[in-house]
Symmetry: C2
């Protein structure tokens, strides 16, 4: 266990204020992350920022309050898909977690840890496994799809049961492929002994697996490497439980 | 209209044979693409290969025959998520369309067209919009999810109606964000006047929109730029209709 985050204190909260107005932050300003504590995609970007030692301002977007703050028009001016995260960095407003992380890698290659290997083939392998999670698992069990699935049945109990069954199915279907893939690549972490983009995507996905009741004994390599990654300082600092908006 | 593909002839067909055995193709061999004619993700890689002028061998994986050739164990040895595409290139077996395209960009920067801009901020913008499609739209309306959705109702008519309604919902929800995004970035194509990764993802998605009955008049910028891209030679050469396995 890393000492750095062994006694987690919540980050200072910054009120959201007028989202659109902040898009004009200058190139030298501290990056601003629009995040929801339990959003997998926000969590990935928090891990990347912490891995690179980049200080940032946290702005909470509550995905459930008032029907979802991410759906409001002032936020959509920043993020046309009405999702978190959005990162304002170097004077630019960036969206989509994996595109944001690639940008941080490209513009800060020597700051903190690199989340992509130096070799093109290995980068392709890392991106592919990360995309199994970011394209083929997480979006299928995210809030937007769960709301749709729940809308198709009546009654709170039925909605909750449908939500859990759907999320469990989405994660289990995908984890079969991820487990097969990382069984060939894993060392201490998912791809050898260095943290990569795979671990960044995997740790939040394993957290979701827990919420949906997935039996992780079926995915022993995923369980092992995700537990190892979660002990790293950058992952502890990015954990939902220490975010200012955690419930 | 480009002359190069104005009279489309189907590519020569290569029998699939034993998928796993081919993974040992040497580094100097012609790339081998495992593809299904109507798979959006396969189509993206075909466009990228054509854009870079890379000759390749086409191996059809029939996603419907025998319950889906992509689900067989010999194919899963190549692609742990049991999906198309898989590209064997430079002696390596690569999966996930967007990771494959990034690899082709990195290893063949001066061959044919570049699908990513030279500037880090623009690359982040292009990747983000491409990921709106590759993460937030296509996977939610792909065959695996449609099969799940159809499994929840009884009867062929109900299954078909459910499939169409689900796919239409998934695409319309996402196209709202994509339209808003590219309204700010589009020139002749989705990001200025040069073909990018966005167009590569968008053209197959617009084709799917047609299959699911999406009214494209609600997305005029998407409709316009996708039509323009589809006229480019690389897009014509990669079109499902000219694939050897097209129905």
């Amino acid at each position: 266990m890393s000492d750095a985050a062994s006694s987690p204190a919540k980050r200072a909260r910054t009120d959201t204020g007028d989202a659109a107005a902040s898009a004009s932050s200058g190139a030298d300003a501290k990056p601003i992350l629009y995040s929801y504590w339990r959003s997998s995609s926000s969590w990935r970007v928090r891990i990347a920022l912490e891995s690179k030692g980049i200080k940032y301002e946290y702005r909470a977007i509550h995905m459930l309050k008032d029907g979802g703050e991410q759906l409001k028009d002032d936020y959509a001016a920043l993020n046309p898909m009405r999702q978190v995260p959005t990162l304002i960095v170097d004077g630019h407003t960036l969206t989509q977690s994996m595109a944001i992380i690639e940008y941080l890698e490209e513009t800060r290659p020597s700051e903190g840890a690199s989340l992509l290997p130096g070799n093109a083939v290995q980068r392709a392998e890392v991106r592919a496994i990360a995309q199994m999670i970011s394209c083929d698992i997480q979006p299928i069990q995210n809030l937007r799809v769960l709301k749709k699935v729940m809308s198709e049945v009546e009654g709170a109990d039925a909605k909750n049961a449908k939500k859990l069954a759907w999320g469990k199915w989405a994660i289990e279907t995908g984890f079969g492929g991820v487990e097969a893939a990382i069984t060939k690549t894993a060392g201490k972490f998912a791809f050898g002994d260095t943290i990569t983009l795979i671990d960044v995507a995997l740790v939040p996905q394993v957290y979701n697996a827990g919420r949906f009741g997935v039996d992780m004994t079926a995915y022993p390599t995923i369980a092992r490497v995700a537990a190892a990654a979660a002990e790293e300082a950058a992952f502890k600092a990015a954990d939902p439980a220490v975010m200012p908006d955690s419930a």
